[in-house]
Every structure is written in structure tokens, then in C-alpha cells.
Symmetry: C2
Subunit: 167 residues, 2 copies
């Protein structure tokens, strides 16, 4: 599903931002399972209670670090986030697979995900990317490019979280 | 006001934990203004929307880094947090100046501070202390001691956030 920015115009994402995202994603891609896992462990380090938002963690005694469902979920979310960022400029839209953005919106709404949770995930994502690429590649511009791409994804998910107006 | 742990028993805080807190607080104390400021800037780095919880930030155009009210507030909160931690074992209670814990509870309740906000502040506090003491002094035990002291303070504030039952 394609999703335009809140203004309903095309997403603004410069060539330079796209180049930074593509360059760093190319480096991280092959290690998505581990980097995605670290992304989620960072979220839970900052906000331990966020684990209650995930059904497969609520009813599990397995430590977070060893939970296979978390590893699988974390990789899927990380890859989706990075691919949406990588395609942002080309498509001018947040692009994820069909129906996924609707499901994401509804799941996040149902589970009571708050603005602060989205912010914690943003912080965790940027910290994880910083540690996932060579130190010489990290810069304020790189941080900004990923931060903006993430904000576009969140705007799309939040749009999907809005209850449908009843006629 | 003195506040016991949730179990209404004395707070458990070991001699070792107290020693770690006292040792690191002694080093940070003289630089409380700067370290406290960094503590709050870290909170806003992780959760930018948390600035709306503070009346003196909501209506200000001054950048966070330069806001004198934030500097003042941050230092007061940091010193209170560290002093409560330093006195925890000796008193067996979270001890802050008279009426402060009630005011804290009521202010946090009124402004809609959530569990996630308290978690973000915990993460920011631990990161700030890590950077505020010599690297050789930081350890899992040090992190644990400050983390536990902070949890006791938060439990006291949350107790003060509960609406008074009506008879």
C-alpha cells in the first residue's frame, strides 16, 4: 500500500538523504537478523514495559534475548522499516506490501501504542544504525536521513490507526 | 516526606549499593548543574514530545539547550534524585523535603506522565551517570544500584499520583 505524507503531497526526501539511506542499508542488509534484534532489545532497554505490547512476549517466560519469536518479528520490522526508507524518494510515498500498513495501523491502535513508544523506537533505531555501520559513515546528516524516513513511516502507521469515520 | 516501599516494609538497598551510589554521587555533586542538564537533554533526545509536559517549555521558543528554566529545573530534579538515592539505605525510606513528594505526585498526575515516561527518564539518568563518572567506575553493579534507587523514587511519586479515595 502506498501512503502519502500528512499534507497529501508527495513525501519530501532529498537525493542526498536517499543516497545516505541506500549506502548504509546496503551495509546492514546481510546482517538484518542481528541488527533487527539489537534494535528491539534497545527498545526494551529504554522502555521495558513495551514488552507487554507484544502478545508473543506477554505470555512467555523465555528471556527477551533468547525469544525466537522476537528475533523473527524484529527482523521483519527492521527490514520493512529500511526498505520503506530506501524506496521513499523513488516512489514519493511510504511503500510497504499490500494490506500491511492497514494491519500495522490497526495492531498498533489495538495495543495502545503511544506517541512516546514511537519516539522510543525512533531513538532505538537510530542508535542501532549508528552501531550497525562503520563509525566513519555515521554523521548528523545520516541520522537526519533515517530519522526523517522513520517519521514518514510512523505518519503512515498513525494514519492507519485512526478509527474509520462512521457515516 | 518519608515514603516506604510498595510492600510497606523498609526499602531494600544493600550496603554495597549504597557505597556505589555515594562514591559516584561524590564525584558528580560539584557538577550537578551540567550533569542534570545533560540528563534532561537526553530525556528529550529519546522522547521529544516530553517537552510538552513542562509548562515552561510549552510556551517557550528558546531552544532546549539554552532555556534557563530547564537548566534550573533539571539541576533541582537531578540533585533530588541523587540525594534520595544517597539517603535510601540510612533511612530505609525515599526521603525528600517535606511536601515535595506530594507535589511531585500531583504534578506528574496532572500532566499525564506515563509509565513509559518514567522509563525513558530512568534510561536517560543511567546513561547520564555513566558519562558523568570515570569509565573505570561504571559497572553492571553501579547501573543496578542507581536503577534500584530510581525505582524506589518512582514508586513514591506514583503513590502520590493516586487520586485520594473519596469516602
Amino acid at each position: 500500500m502506498a501512503f502519502a505524507s500528512a499534507s497529501n503531497g508527495a513525501v519530501r526526501f532529498t537525493e542526498e538523504q536517499e543516497a545516505l539511506v541506500l549506502k548504509s542499508w546496503a551495509i546492514m542488509k546481510d546482517d538484518s537478523a542481528n541488527i533487527g534484534h539489537r534494535f528491539f532489545l534497545k527498545i526494551f532497554e529504554v522502555a521495558p514495559s513495551a514488552r507487554h505490547l507484544f502478545s508473543f512476549l506477554r505470555n512467555s517466560d523465555v528471556p527477551l534475548e533468547k525469544n525466537p519469536n522476537l528475533k523473527k518479528h524484529a527482523m521483519a520490522v527492521f527490514v520493512m522499516t529500511c526498505e520503506a526508507a530506501a524506496q521513499l524518494r523513488k516512489t514519493g510515498r511510504v511503500t510497504v506490501r499490500d494490506t500491511t500498513i492497514k494491519r500495522l495501523g490497526s495492531t498498533h491502535f489495538k495495543n495502545g501504542v503511544s506517541d512516546t513508544h514511537f519516539e522510543v523506537a525512533r531513538f532505538a533505531l537510530l542508535e542501532t544504525i549508528k552501531d550497525g555501520i562503520p563509525a566513519s559513515m555515521w554523521s548528523p546528516e545520516m541520522k537526519n536521513a533515517w530519522g526523517e524516513a522513520y517519521e514518514h513511516l510512523v505518519a503512515a502507521i498513525k494514519e492507519g490507526m485512526k478509527p474509520v469515520a462512521l457515516l
